[in-house]
Symmetry: C2
Subunit: 199 residues, 2 copies
């Protein structure tokens, strides 16, 4: 049995460490990177290097951006009375896409008993200090509507309560465009629970 | 709407060009590469660079290796009387894994009407010349047991026929429609064992 070149094995191993990339996918991707135009492959390497050189974590809200403070935090036209608390920077970009104009706080994850992630592993301490210092009118807890996200929101709500800030949570209900006959019971229960008045 | 840093967009776009990586996966991977330890991320970039610097295409059999001729072609202990013709180098490694000890010829793909890939887009001409020059006793066509693979084998058999070499095909112990890169070693070993004559 002739071994593959070590550089190939190394690349496969590196790709395999990425989330959602199993051993077979890693192998397929490695040979793809060997098959395509050399420049095309090196562009990907350079893109990784550039992103790590260019992008830093905002010391105020923990967003990722080329500047610190980030573009959002340093934008004087934004509404500073509301902080939207998100798990990750890519969720932040979703809210940007739909036109949210307040400020953010990026937790850098969510609490999880299973993965042994507590408040101290996240930017919770920094959020509390920031709310004490900047006194926003409202903190909206925009963690995901699942087990860990709800648990994280509950802990955050407890910690923020003493500061006298208004604490909100994103609405839960029917996804736009969904069909009532087909959504899950928990979605439907949320939709009834959170029904709002039209009159 | 605040734009994301251009380096992030660029990385997402580069990842999205990889096979099987859609826009959502590309975004997830990009933010993963921003979140993990900087060295860990740069190791991946370096692995891509290294593989492209270290690995070249064998001028004899078109395998990928650090040397040219490759480790297989320059190994004097191998059985030079049989050429196993494969589509891709990663399939070659599967045959190595199950202990095949002959030589290979890597087609660098398969013929496909749909994708407009003909013999001239593959290393078919080089295979013919090589068989004429080195006169192996047998050429085993180990293209995949699916539509394009069978078609490719048929065309190769026609071209090799006039050279008077024994032409074989892997046994149809392989499940039709499967991928050589993914079947178990025992299926693959059976397929080598039961290869049948086409001439």
């Amino acid at each position: 049995m002739v071994a593959r070149d070590r550089s190939i094995e190394n690349l496969i191993e590196r790709l395999n460490r990425l989330p959602g990339i199993g051993p077979k996918s890693a192998e397929r991707l490695a040979f793809h990177l060997l098959k395509i135009d050399r420049d095309e492959a090196l562009q990907l390497a350079r893109a990784i290097e550039n992103v790590r050189a260019a992008v830093r974590t905002c010391s105020v809200c923990f967003n990722l951006d080329a500047s610190d403070p980030c573009g959002v935090c340093s934008d004087e036209t934004r509404d500073r009375s509301i902080f939207l608390v998100v798990e990750d920077p890519r969720e932040l970009t979703r809210f940007e896409d739909v036109g949210f104009r307040g400020l953010y706080h990026v937790l850098q994850g969510r609490m999880s008993q299973l993965e042994n992630i507590g408040p101290d592993d996240l930017t919770v301490g920094a959020l509390i200090k920031r709310v004490e210092r900047d006194r926003p009118a409202e903190v909206c807890l925009a963690t995901n509507p699942d087990l860990e996200g709800e648990g994280t929101a509950r802990v955050l709500a407890e910690r923020l309560q003493p500061l006298g800030v208004k604490i909100t949570r994103l609405a839960r209900g029917l996804p736009a465009g969904s069909s009532i006959a087909q959504v899950s019971s928990s979605i439907l229960a949320d939709a009834i629970e959170g029904r709002r008045s039209l009159s």
